[in-house]
């Protein structure tokens, strides 16, 4: 059965800390891995990763894929209260129809 597992499920840190969120997957016909941020509404897209070892960066956020280990990490440096959200990892299978398998999410809380 295809599955995506995220860890930790919940994380509470202080503003300014650096956090690392993990995503591991077991899916057939892996095509790409996506990270989404979900606040009180719909998930918003952060990164798409297809190649192993190539880091994607956007401001204080960065992510990298390790195809050998079937995993990805999402790093957030110098965290701010606005980073508080659920971070979702999803894997796309190469069926040509963008079918996503989602992890259960990591709930990140940044305290001032």
């Amino acid at each position: 059965e295809d599955k995506v597992v995220q860890s930790p499920l919940s994380l509470v840190v202080h503003e300014g800390d650096t956090v690392t969120l993990n995503c591991s997957y077991e899916v057939t016909n892996f095509r790409s891995l996506l990270w989404y941020k979900q606040e009180k509404k719909a998930p918003t897209f952060l990164f798409m990763l297809t190649s192993s070892g190539i880091e994607k960066k956007s401001g204080r956020l960065s992510s990298i894929l390790d195809k050998k280990e079937l995993s990805s990490i999402l790093n957030i440096t110098a965290t701010q209260t606005g980073d508080s959200a659920i971070y979702l990892c999803a894997v796309v299978q190469s069926q040509g129809a963008q079918k996503l398998v989602f992890g259960q999410g990591t709930r990140l809380t940044i305290n001032p």
Partner: protein, 118 residues
């Protein structure tokens, strides 16, 4: 500013009633997805369409749920009869696939419909 729209944003109904949720995908997108999100199960894919044809609805309880795309600008998800366990946030997302390959794997999510069945 292209975005996916969903109506209604909130729906409270009684058990046994019919519920219809609507989604307008981003203009030009040809794939539409319906997801359900609960605290216990997270995000689950219910059904998806490409070029208005259903490709997979294996995640959907067939006895009470139905999904359709009457035209390229409207997707509907219907529950009849509704049950308390259907209470969840239902998201619609859209994307673009050309020539059998996704131009981007990114899906764009609507704001969701929060359904409460009493």
């Amino acid at each position: 500013d292209a975005r996916v729209t969903q109506t209604p944003r909130h729906k409270v109904t009684e058990m046994g009633q019919e519920v219809t949720m609507r989604c307008q995908p981003i203009l030009g997108h040809n794939t539409v997805f319906w997801y359900r999100q609960t605290m216990m199960q997270g995000l689950e894919l219910l059904a998806y369409f490409r070029n208005r044809a259903p490709l997979d609805d294996s995640g959907m309880p067939k006895d009470r749920f139905s999904a359709e795309m009457p035209d390229a600008t409207l997707a509907t998800l219907k529950i009849q009869p509704s049950e308390p366990r259907d209470s969840a946030v239902y998201f619609c997302a859209s994307g673009l696939v050309r020539d059998g390959a996704a131009t981007t794997d990114t899906q764009y999510f609507g704001p969701g419909t929060r359904l409460t069945v009493l």
